[in-house]
Amino acid sequence: MLNESDLIALGITLKLALLTTCILLLTGTPLAWWLSRSRWRYKFLLEAIIALPLVLPPTVLGFYLLLLLGPNGPLGALMMSMGGQPLAFTFSGLVIGSVFYSMPFVVQPLQDAFSAIGQRPMEVAATLRASPLDRFFTVAIPLARPGFLTAAVLGFAHTVGEFGVVLMIGGNIPGETQVLSIAIYDHVEGLEYAHAHWLSGGLLLMSFILLIAVYAFNSRFRVVKNAI
């Protein structure tokens, strides 16, 4: 049913999705926090820019990333001049592309969750000797828990399923940048439907189990508001 190359693609997919989700959470959290607290007048510009990559078709976005990161592109040229390697067709490139593309799915729910907390818990923590960083980790993040769950699930699932960007800047190199979504796509395009069904089924099952685990675990930690 699943051959070796499928398993390798599965491994890469998981690695990519996990890494991307981690990076998204790590970078998205401070960004979302800042967006939720800042009173900067032109904040809405930034908010709009973050959502913008979404409106381009993934392949096209991948195309522009390719132009940007390529040796003739501004970013690629910069990197090369600093002695770096071009990012296209590498796993790192995939990660960058995925992060860029899935950013809004992480930042927006987090921003909403942080906003919903309000000022008060942070003030209370301040009067209890917690430094800004301390209270961010011990109060803001635990209270924003549902937002983190949403952000992680959307970010992870979207990265697993996404393949336009990944295909474009990854180059579909087996063992390196060929992820499961591309493999399934290849099977469908190549009319190997049985194989595609197997792979899709497997992916769905795996994801379902993962999601169930996450949601079931989460439901035990709900913060209840004003029950009395």
């Binding site: 195309f63 390719l66 390529g70 003739n72 071009p86 180059g171 469908v188």
Partner: protein, 226 residues
């Protein structure tokens, strides 16, 4: 009247020129849907309202014919793709393609052999040269010949096996270096067309495609005529 045409991405631009001609001549309008041949196959099988299907290979029109979805006997080869090894770099590609044995490039772009006839052709060429396995780690695969071209065009892959029609349609590309892969070193890339719905208008269009006028257009776009 209207004719709905499904066309493989690589032939889309050429078909648009043909369609314009046809419209001019007959006043009939062509609605062109561009896509990959695999996708079109699945769609036609599932009831897509296409009248004519310009595929990128012979396999899928054949299948449709066998399954009785396409009109038996309507299938024929409308163009033959020409494989070239191309680089935007003026110096890179020599007339013998020795570059392939060198380490002067990081990535070689090839279309996915499983999906794209150009990819299969490139595979055959490389296998003949005994390079298929050794170049594996330096090969990036486009889903179709369009993407393969973009890999090279954007400079991320230094060279790649692309279609002659692509290099031709992009005048700036001609400035690069080019090796036209000799015929015979790969199975001919026959692109076939098949009729999905039989009616006079569709037949008229097919007849038009067979006309010399159109064959000339196809040839000028970088395809060979079978």
């Amino acid at each position: 009247g209207e004719i709905r045409v499904a066309v493989a991405s690589n032939f889309a631009n050429t078909l648009k020129v043909i369609a314009a001609r046809f419209e001019q001549k007959t006043g009939h309008h062509l609605i062109i849907s561009v896509g990959s041949t695999g996708k079109h196959y699945a769609q036609i099988k599932n009831g897509a309202p296409f009248d004519v299907f310009f595929a990128a290979d012979t396999y899928r029109p054949e299948l449709l014919e066998k399954q009785g979805i396409a009109l038996a006997g309507s299938r024929f080869t409308y163009a033959q793709g020409q494989l070239v090894l191309w680089s935007p770099d003026k110096q890179l590609v020599d007339s013998e393609a020795r570059v392939l044995e060198s380490s002067n490039f990081r990535y070689l772009a090839v279309a996915n052999p499983k999906l794209a006839p150009y990819g299969r052709a490139a595979q055959q060429v490389l296998q003949k040269k005994g390079l298929w396995d050794s170049l594996r780690s330096r090969m990036v695969r486009g889903e179709n010949i369009g993407q393969t071209f973009q890999f090279v065009k954007s400079g991320n892959a230094q060279l790649g096996f692309v279609a002659a029609s692509q290099v031709k349609s992009e005048p700036a590309s001609l400035a690069g270096s080019l090796w036209v892969v000799p015929e015979g070193s790969y199975t001919a890339i026959n692109q076939q067309v098949v009729l999905v719905k039989d009616n006079p208008l569709n037949n008229a269009f097919i007849a038009f495609v067979r006309s010399d006028e159109v064959l000339k257009i196809i040839h000028e776009s970088g395809y060979k005529i079978p």
